[in-house]
């Protein structure tokens, strides 16, 4: 067998490589020529090969200063570039951070910056020099020259910061404030370190752009030249080796600056990973022993009551738009595992973020442990949040991530590492303490996030779709693990998910939501046994929703006439209905028997049965899911035990009759609205 992988690149690759090499020759060739020519013998002239080798021109230039004030202009330019670079970094970082919020005049300022960037340099210089002239001031490189250069480096720095900050995940900062960092600590410990490569980039660009700038400075530098202006003045004799010597010397300086900058980036990266690798390895055994007392001072001395109460909470993001959360009331007892379940955009994450303090209600109150925390910052609530993408600080090792909250609280290194180690053991990650988050798998990252959230000893843990980034296998394992940890800690968990199975598997209380409202809040069993309305029944799954007009009432039940002409009995459980009224009911799919129609059995359905053509058949292992097409648009599904099904397997396209007993029907709440066609379809597909 031939190995086709090594069969070679297509011809286009070789053609493009050739293009690239030619371009590099085009780029570097002429420059190399002048570097060589700058070592021309004292007679000068453009001859190849060189007439002797000498450093004469460099000597003239730097020591004797014959060809103009190179040394002086060089110093001036470096000073200017350094100042420009520092100012650009400081101002563009600040402005870049400021631009993350909307503020009046932001758009205007942005367009000014762009216009300033693309404006011909001489035009800007002309403007500044005219202003100075009209004011009767002298132009000076320290004032007008500096300003002129900033009009070019600042927009540039701002654009770079936009790009860098745009890729910056906001939840890093939210995680930091959750863990107790103040605004300043957050900026110093999280924001700036993560933005560091971009900051060095801005500094480097600021320096080199300024160091080489002359279109803007030619009219604004005043009586003293900068280096580029001096070089520009020397171009009156374009064949002078002195000029080439300047070129060689300045190039060397530029390369030194770039080299230093790149070197420092590499050094920072290396120190980070080395720091991560070396830091916690030497935790002494004594520190381990002192673990438990060490934990308590870190914690705020709040009551441990983790009950949550939302009172008439409304959140509107844009005025006039429908609210994300509308007049919502909810009570979650201390130590409960509560799942907020609903399709995307139903407001469940908004609720979570309002409990966390990352979002404030437009109206209404949030109470934790019977204390009103509506407007408190995250750290004062005794809550901790696990973010959807985990928001692990990419520049800190696993143990530093976990110990972050203790560092913020000023706990010593040995102590905080000991506590962090203990938590890592709890999530079985002690062997990975020195890794960086990027070196972990998704499941491991999730456990680090859990440990980091738990280190503050929270009374409430908030989990935003904690399992959505994991594969199926890990998801099943981790949801059991979450439940185990919650039991062990005995604190309140609020878990946001859009997966019904996940919610029913872990929760004590499932809150089914739709469009900012709670449709039902109850135990998973109660929701499954008696869903309140058609929406809940469809969303929670395992139910068929059926409807029909009341034909007869009696003996505690109503008989409905369905759209396809069948009749079904629904127990009323004390509800009063009138004939002709439209009713909705749910039927558990695992309480339905399916058989072939008996010979002679007509199309007309019997009481408590439906007939139709089999549409799909899915073998689920312990049961078989049969979908029957009734012709009324609503999906009718029967989950039949595998042993029953395989006695006489029905195939797709066969006719089938489904039957059940009336006691398995549950009356739904939807009747008053009589919205037989207006029922909202849940976006998630029910199982």
């Amino acid at each position: 067998m031939h190995n086709t992988v090594t069969a070679g690149r297509p011809w286009t690759f070789h053609a493009l490589t050739l293009c690239f090499v030619v371009f590099l020759a085009f780029l570097y060739g002429p420059m190399v020529v002048i570097y060589v020519l700058s070592f021309q013998g004292t007679e000068g002239g453009l001859t190849f090969p060189l007439r002797g080798f000498s450093t004469h021109w460099f000597h003239e230039l730097i020591v004797n200063g014959r060809s103009g004030d190179i040394a002086g202009t060089f110093t001036r330019s470096v000073e200017l570039a350094a100042v420009v670079s520092v100012l650009t970094v400081v101002m563009s970082i600040a402005a870049g951070l400021g631009f993350r919020r909307r503020f009046r005049g932001a758009g205007f300022l942005f367009y000014i910056a762009i216009a300033s960037l693309v404006m011909p340099g001489l035009f800007v210089g002309l403007g500044i020099s005219l202003v100075f002239q009209l004011l009767g001031w002298q132009t000076d490189w320290r004032v007008s020259g500096l300003g002129a250069q900033l009009t070019w480096t600042l927009p540039f720095g701002l654009l770079v910061m936009f790009a860098v900050i745009g890729r910056f995940n906001r939840s890093y900062e939210e995680a930091a404030s959750d863990l107790g960092a103040t605004a300043w600590q957050r900026t110093r410990e999280v924001t700036l370190p993560i933005l560091l490569p971009g900051i060095i980039g801005v500094a480097l660009f600021g320096f080199t752009l300024s160091y080489d700038e002359f279109a803007r400075t030619v009219l604004t530098a005043g009586s003293q030249n900068t280096l580029p202006l001096e070089i520009w003045a020397m171009t009156t004799n374009v064949t002078s080796p002195a000029l080439y010597a300047v070129g060689t010397a300045t190039t060397l300086v530029s390369f030194t600056v770039i080299g230093a900058a790149l070197g420092s980036i590499a050094l920072i990266q290396r120190r980070r990973s080395r720091h991560a690798a070396s830091s916690p390895a030497s935790v002494p055994a004594t520190a381990m022993a002192a673990t438990d007392p060490a934990r308590s001072p870190a914690m705020t001395t709040q009551t441990k009551d983790g009950s949550i109460e939302l009172v008439a909470v409304t959140k509107t993001y844009t005025q006039g738009a429908p609210p994300a959360v509308a007049e919502l009331d909810l009570r979650v007892g201390h130590g409960a595992y509560c799942c907020l379940l609903g399709p995307s955009g139903c407001g469940k994450t908004t609720i979570l973020r309002m409990i966390a303090g990352h979002e404030f209600p437009t109206s209404g109150d949030v109470l934790i442990g019977n204390r009103n925390v509506t407007l408190l910052p995250p750290v004062e609530r005794g809550t901790a949040m696990m973010f959807q993408s985990y928001a692990l600080f990419p520049h800190r090792s696993v143990i530093d991530n976990v110990a972050f909250a203790l560092k913020i609280r000023g706990i010593g290194r040995d102590q905080r590492y000991a506590t962090a180690r203990e938590l890592l053991e709890k999530v079985r990650l002690e062997a990975f303490a020195n890794r960086l988050p990027s070196e972990l798998s998704g499941g491991q990252q999730q456990r680090v996030a859990l440990a980091r959230a738990l280190i503050t000893n929270p009374r409430v843990l908030l989990l935003d779709e904690p399992l959505s980034a994991l594969d199926e296998f890990l998801r099943l394992r981790m949801r059991g693990e979450l439940r185990r940890i919650q039991r062990e800690l005995g604190i309140t968990f609020v878990h946001v998910t859009h997966t019904q199975l996940e919610a029913t598997a872990v929760a004590d209380v499932v809150v089914v939501m739709d469009q900012g409202r709670i449709e039902q809040a109850a135990s998973p069993r109660e929701i499954y046994l008696s869903p309140r309305n058609a929406y809940v029944a469809r969303f929670i799954g395992g139910q068929n929703v059926m409807s029909g007009a009341v034909e007869r009432v009696g003996e505690g039940r109503a008989t409905l006439l369905t759209g396809t002409g069948g009749r079904i009995d629904v127990p009323l459980d004390g509800a009063s209905v009138v004939p002709g009224e439209m009713l909705f009911a749910s039927l558990r799919r695992d309480r339905i028997a399916v058989r072939r129609p008996a010979t002679g059995e007509g199309r007309r359905d019997l009481l408590n049965s439906v007939a139709g053509e089999v549409h799909t058949i899915e073998n689920q292992g312990s049961y078989v899911k049969i979908t029957i097409d009734l012709g009324d648009g609503e999906e009718f599904v029967a989950n039949v035990l595998d042993e029953d099904y395989f006695i006489d397997p029905i195939d797709i396209g066969d006719r089938a009759v489904a039957t059940w007993t009336a006691g398995n029907m549950r009356l739904l709440d939807d009747r008053s609205a009589a919205r037989s066609t207006a029922i909202r379809q849940p976006s998630a597909v029910s199982v």
Binding site: T17, M31, L37, A95, I231, W232, S254, F255
Partner: protein, 286 residues
């Protein structure tokens, strides 16, 4: 006390805004005002006249200068676009090793960090009548006598522009290309698209914003240039800005201001034209 978030934003953006308004906003307004002033000898006379503009639009020189600058802008734009796109395409899609990719990218951008004037000047010993290129051609017996059109000509101007500005085109295109999801290319291949079709149907539309940004940089650089044209054409060609510089050197500020205003309007119209075709705000925001 809680500080309003918008106020924090203003404090953060304030210094940058102040510098831009002081050294860019106000000077631009002053140039516009001065362009309506009169002058005698070296003094500016505050009055309101339209003569400066009238002179510009009635002078045949203006039209020649603009024609020449636009011609250079068009040629250089076309060359840098093809070069920048080809090089970025090569680096992003044909170099598999990330380290090599970064290395080659740095190799392309290193000259950018050195003096612009020196890079321009470096063509002189290479292209000159007795320069390296002519010498090589003669030694190889390809030509008998030196080629004269190489230096101090429009050709030399274009070569220097391409040398200086290709990177401005390449970097934005490289950026937007690097952001293209590799699975898109695979999906196109699965659908049976050829290399060329992929380039035309997938890559090109997805780098539109990069191309637009690069085009803005290149076009504004060429239109704003006054030194390359002056040196590389040996004084034979002029650009709008080199003429402007001559007026400034002669201390004729009001006419200089007027031609600067006209130039900026033309350049801004070109930029606006590019932005109309491609919305680069998405690119900047992401």
């Amino acid at each position: 006390m809680k500080i309003r978030p918008a106020l924090i934003s203003w404090l953060q953006a304030g210094p940058l805004a102040a510098i831009l308004i002081l050294f860019f906003g106000i000077p631009v307004l002053v140039v516009v005002v001065v362009s309506f002033f009169d002058f005698d000898h070296s003094d500016i006379v505050p009055t309101f006249i339209l003569d400066n503009y009238q002179d510009i639009f009635t002078s045949e020189v203006t039209w020649r200068l603009y024609l020449s600058s636009l011609k250079f802008a068009a040629i250089v734009w076309a060359i840098t676009l093809v070069l920048g796109f080809t090089l970025a395409n090569y680096l992003v899609f044909h170099i598999r090793s990330l380290l090599l990719k970064i290395g080659l990218f740095l190799l392309c951008s290193v000259p950018f960090w050195t003096s612009t004037i020196i890079r321009m000047i470096s063509w002189i010993p290479f292209l000159g009548r007795n320069g390296l290129f002519n010498t090589m051609l003669i030694d190889a017996h390809i030509i008998d006598k030196p080629l004269d059109f190489l230096l101090f000509s429009d050709f030399a101007v274009v070569v220097a522009y391409v040398h200086l500005f290709t990177l401005f085109m390449m970097v934005p295109i490289f950026n937007s290309m690097a952001r293209i999801d590799a699975r898109l290319i695979e999906a196109a291949k699965d659908a049976g698209a050829s290399r060329w079709t992929i380039l035309r149907e997938i890559v090109l539309p997805l780098c539109k914003s990069g191309i637009a940004l690069g085009s803005i940089f290149v076009v504004t650089q060429v239109m704003g240039d006054f030194f390359v044209v002056k040196v590389m054409s040996g004084g034979q060609s002029a650009s709008v800005v080199s003429a402007l510089q001559n007026e400034i050197a002669a201390l004729q500020y009001p006419p200089a201001a007027a031609s600067a205003v006209v130039l900026v309007i033309v350049v801004m119209m070109m930029v606006a034209g590019i932005l109309r075709v491609v919305d680069v705000r998405k690119e900047l925001a992401s």
